[in-house]
């Protein structure tokens, strides 16, 4: 079966520093795939390279078997590859509804129209409200985003990404900066997404990773250390050493 998303020998260099050093990934359609690794391992940079936020220095990216390495990010999005950001990237003074509605309009290419009223498009608005309801923000839809609590803003990130109707969605620490109790809620929302949607997520909280991921890739110093099921990863001595071990040490 062709992978939903694949990278071959993907590399990103910043000057002489190799942030991602030749990563081979193959994510199966419908996967719930976690990307873990210590701080500075290159997870975010890898996400950037997969989605086109930064250009790869070497290697290739394939979406459903199609080489998308040379496509700019907007073109990749239109092919069904969306992402969320570790640090919120929102239209802060716009309302939640406007944030999500814009993504709906862009997907429909309705943003070419400057002669129509945006609020007159009931269907697009109804769809935007559905995405907003899915992330539990229905009651806050008409609030400007900057008034929302941080955890709620993280939900807006996800709603915007969903409004692009992705086939593959990459979430860079969707629960970053959110209290543990709320982060579980975020992941429960993600679990409710359609099974056909391929989900890749970066996450530091091991409880959440083992609870929601079906496969895990461990990234260390820009390279894949290992990949496997949660059981395999938790049994792996090297992973314990570089990652779990260190965390365990912190906990102690």
């Amino acid at each position: 079966m062709t992978a939903a998303l694949e990278s071959r020998n993907l590399a990103v260099r910043y000057g002489h520093f190799s942030a991602v050093g030749g990563v081979d990934l193959a994510i199966a359609p419908g996967a719930r795939h976690a990307l873990i690794g210590p701080n500075g391992a290159g997870k975010t940079t890898l996400v950037h390279a997969l989605t086109g936020n930064v250009a790869a220095t070497a290697g290739s990216v394939h979406l459903d078997g199609e080489d998308i390495t040379h496509l700019a990010q907007p073109a990749r999005v239109r092919k069904g590859l969306a992402r969320t950001f570790q640090i919120n990237q929102l239209f802060r003074s716009q309302t939640v509804l406007e944030n999500v509605l814009l993504a709906v309009f862009e997907r429909q290419r309705a943003t070419r129209a400057f002669w129509r009223s945006a609020t007159g498009d009931r269907r697009a608005i109804a769809e935007a409200r559905e995405h907003i309801a899915l992330v539990n923000l229905a009651s806050l839809a008409d609030q400007p985003v900057h008034r929302l609590a941080y955890g709620q803003q993280r939900m807006v990130e996800i709603a915007i990404a969903l409004a692009t109707r992705p086939r593959v969605l990459i979430l860079d620490e969707p629960a970053a900066g959110v209290p543990t109790t709320e982060s579980a809620v975020i992941f429960e929302r993600l679990e409710a997404l359609p099974r056909e949607m391929t989900l890749i997520f970066v996450e530091h909280d091991m409880n959440l990773v083992f609870r929601f991921a079906e496969r895990i890739t461990v990234l260390v110093a820009g390279k894949v250390l290992t990949e496997g099921t949660p059981a395999e990863i938790s049994a792996d001595e090297r992973v314990r050493e570089v990652y779990l071990g260190r965390r365990g040490h912190h906990a102690a």
Binding site: N53, P74, A82, S93, L102, F105, T111
Partner: protein, 314 residues
Amino acid sequence: MKARTATRFAPVLLLAAIASYVLFPDYLALITQIMILAIFALSYDLLQGHTGIVSLGHAAFFGLGAYSVAILSRFGVTEPVLGLFAAGAVSAVVALVLSPIVARGNDLTRLLITLGIGSLLYEAANRARAWTGGADGLSDFALSPLLGVFEFDFLGRTAFFYSFAVLALVYACLLRITTSPFGLALAGIRENTTRMRAIGAPTARHIAVSYMLSGAIAGLGGAVLAQTSHFVSLDMLGFDRSAEVMMVATLGGTGTLHGVVIGAAGFGYVKDALSTLSPKYWHLALGIVLMASVLLMKGGIAGALARLAAWRKR
């Protein structure tokens, strides 16, 4: 929110224009100039206030509209409304052609590029004496009566109503543009281009269209000035005019239609009053007034009005 305020202000501004006509019949020329300044400032603010991109050469499109009127009349386009829309079209096409070099880059490169475009066009107009009259300008172009009926009278009544009609049209169009799906995308570019790319938005295309529309409206403003003053000159393309419109937008409240119109009125009036008061030092005085208002009023006049409204509601 802002659009709703701009809608609510539309009848207020309309009444203000009518009142000014009735109350100050001796000042029609000044009021006409203010309305033209408002058209130009609105065109500029589509870029700065709504799209979040800056330009230091926007007078290029204003002047282009003015010269188009004069030059087209040599080819028989003497009816003002026809000349107006032809001038708008010329400015729109030139803006669209130039838009790829404006769309790329950041604020600093954009400032330099638009500054360059402005001075290039200025120099070109200066050299092409046969067409533009060079430094002397042009006043020997024919204008037929407006719609075949209304002559531009020396009391400036026709000029007043004509400028007013164009300003009202521009205001209504911009109200629609800024509340359209496209307008939402412009706000997106202003607020977060990283996110725009991540939702698949063609940002360069949006910026190009915004630039084209803005250029077209600036062209309308220039055309109205050429027609109502029956004169075109190099200063209509000049840097001073580009800088002035930036000040007007900031003073009025960038990103708000009503604020920019009020800003144009305030700026036009203060400039006129100061220059009669002190022909020598009015530049200095204007600078002080502007600096004080920018420092004291966050969000310009529109921002102050919004705060006042919020305060009254409590």
